[in-house]
């Protein structure tokens, strides 16, 4: 840019942006800080910000009170499994839409997205019944299937926008050289599409990790992921702010860290390729 930015303006910008950023981040920061306080300090009046004796006792209590490892494991399996399953099903669909488009491609994409508008609660009981019949209630595989289905439209759409960026000539050339459809997908398309697949994977792991309708309504004890773990802290028993904070921190930490590391890939994926 030709115009020189004055130092003064940069200082004002920086101050304003940091103030807003910290304000938005504050609830998370406060939660993390509170998780290291004793219950008495957590509700001190006036509130204590940093000058307190840090303690790990809340984490110990939470670990003792509930089986965190099992909830965490369930979350990992359900979020990871549903995403991988979805991507396996979505890759061929997105591939054919991007490289062999027809007049109906756009309609099919919009229709897929519209299935996401189907209110979950409208079909809760039927799904519940089907789950009981098939013995899927409170199982990881059941939740995996449901979360895969609700995220499938987004996965297809994201992959489609990434695949569309791949020049068709490369595929033509491969075809000329006698590559079969299978070879085309495995050896040429997939390597070129890895970055796109990676961001799709990330975003959908996050969406599945945080999904809180089906995970709360279709699990009881065995398959309950972290969303249910945290919901069990919703009814207060005595002093509980510090313990609630510790449990919250434990529930969000894995995805927060993953999200921060991959924010660049996420942004491009989130825009559905429509914003450059």
């Amino acid at each position: 840019m030709a115009r020189a930015v004055t130092q003064k303006r940069k200082i004002i910008n920086t101050t304003a942006a940091w103030a807003v950023g910290l304000l938005i981040f504050f609830p998370i920061l406060w939660t993390i800080l509170t998780s290291f306080k004793t219950e008495a300090v957590a509700i001190a009046d006036p509130p204590v910000f940093l000058g307190f004796d840090w303690t790990l006792e809340n984490y110990a209590t939470v670990l003792e009170r509930s089986d965190y490892a099992r909830f965490l494991w369930n979350s990992i399996i359900i979020a990871g499994g549903s995403t991988v399953l979805g991507i396996i099903i979505a890759i061929p669909a997105a591939w054919s839409m991007a490289f062999v488009p027809s007049k109906r491609t756009k309609d099919i994409l919009l229709w897929m997205l519209s299935t996401k508008m189907l209110p979950a609660v409208g079909v809760l009981y039927p799904i519940y019944l089907i789950f009981i019949r098939m013995g899927l209630l409170d199982t990881k595989i059941g939740l995996m299937i449901v979360l895969m289905l609700i995220n499938l439209p987004i996965i297809v759409w994201m992959l489609y926008t990434y695949f569309k960026e791949i020049p068709g000539e490369i595929l033509e050339a491969a075809r000329m050289d006698g590559a079969s459809l299978k070879e085309e997908v495995i050896h040429i398309l997939t390597p070129m599409a890895i970055p796109g697949i990676a961001s799709t994977l990330l975003l959908n792991v996050i969406l599945a990790w945080n999904e809180a309708f089906w995970t709360l309504n279709l699990t009881a004890a065995k398959a309950a992921p972290l969303t249910a773990f945290i919901a069990s802290y919703s009814s207060p028993e005595g002093l509980f702010y510090a313990k609630l904070s510790a449990a919250s921190t434990m529930a969000i930490a894995p995805i927060l860290i993953l999200g921060w590391f991959s924010q660049k890939q996420l942004v491009s994926g989130l825009t559905f390729g429509a914003v450059k």
């Binding site: 809760l124 289905l149 439209p153 709360l216 945290i230 904070s245 450059k276």
Partner: protein, 288 residues
């Protein structure tokens, strides 16, 4: 380019996704329609036969129906307005030259990664609690009487919580769009004496149209079905019962499947009205 062979192969490759989604849509939908015409109380006698449109009439004439539609639209509309307006302002701010832009972006995006049950619990207890919440301390500090947020301003509180969760998403998409704005054009207009407001209105805002459409579409899809935020905070009390929550209560709390299913059909109709409206805009704005 596409031969007959590749066309049929393409259809075959699309089949699993299409068939699965079609099944996911049609099977439960058919069952919901079926139940909606029955008196069906699993805990009090089970299937008590066909009742025609009784459930539909009862659901729509219940005193909670219209308020729940209104609550749903208020939450969706309120959150959309807040996140888009603040998102545009924040995107413009973050696009300015500054120190530590990367870190600020990390701070701003963080709420998006917090699961709804956690954010609802944290806001409810640690901020909005009338005795020990931070807001109560803040109010007392300024000599005001602390508010009982989730009772006195329940809908506003929910909108605040949900907006906090979705502001990062809106900001991020709008920021990406703003970064592609042509700096030369802005400079030229500045030299020609355009005021900052005029530059915003005639150059920045039109450039953001597409990004705003995306935010509108994606957020509406997710906001229409918010559940955990209400489940954890008010349980639908104090005027926060959305259509989703009302149906949830009919199905799971009163165990009245027929009535709940009729409600489900209404929810699907509402979602479709919104969807048609949205798809019109998006179809125009997206060259999919």
């Amino acid at each position: 380019m596409a031969t007959q062979h590749s066309r049929s192969a393409a259809r075959l490759m699309m089949a699993p996704a299409v068939v699965l989604l079609l099944g996911w849509m049609l099977v439960p939908l058919t069952m919901t329609l079926w139940f909606s015409f029955k008196k069906y109380l699993p805990l009090r006698g089970g299937d008590l036969g066909w009742v025609g449109f009784d459930n539909y009439v009862r659901f729509v004439t219940s005193s909670s129906f219209w308020p729940s539609v209104w609550t749903t639209l208020t939450i969706v509309g309120g959150v959309l307005i807040i996140t888009i307006v603040l998102g545009v302002l924040l995107a413009i701010l973050l696009n300015q030259p500054m120190w530590g832009q990367g870190i600020v972006r990390i701070l701003v995006i963080a709420p998006f990664f917090v699961m709804p049950t956690v954010s609802a619990l944290v806001w409810k207890n640690m901020f909005m609690d009338p005795v020990n919440g931070l807001f109560a301390h803040l109010w007392k500090f300024f000599g005001a009487e602390p508010m009982v947020w989730l009772t006195e301003a329940s809908l506003e509180s929910i909108i605040l919580i949900v907006s906090w969760q979705w502001l990062p998403f809106a900001t991020l998409i709008l920021l990406t769009a703003i970064q592609s704005l042509d700096g030369e054009q802005l400079e030229a207009s500045e030299m020609d004496g355009a005021t900052p407001l005029a530059r915003f209105g005639y150059i920045v805002l039109p450039h953001l149209g597409r990004a705003i459409t995306i935010v509108l579409l994606i957020q509406t899809i997710f906001l229409l079905s918010i559940f955990a935020e209400i489940f954890v905070t008010t349980q639908g009390a104090f005027g926060t019962k959305t259509l989703t929550y009302l149906i949830f209560q009919r199905v799971l709390e009163s165990q009245n499947i027929g009535l709940g299913s009729a409600g489900g059909v209404y929810a699907i109709i509402l979602a479709n009205i919104v969807a048609i409206f949205l798809m019109r805009i998006v179809g125009k704005n997206l060259d999919a």
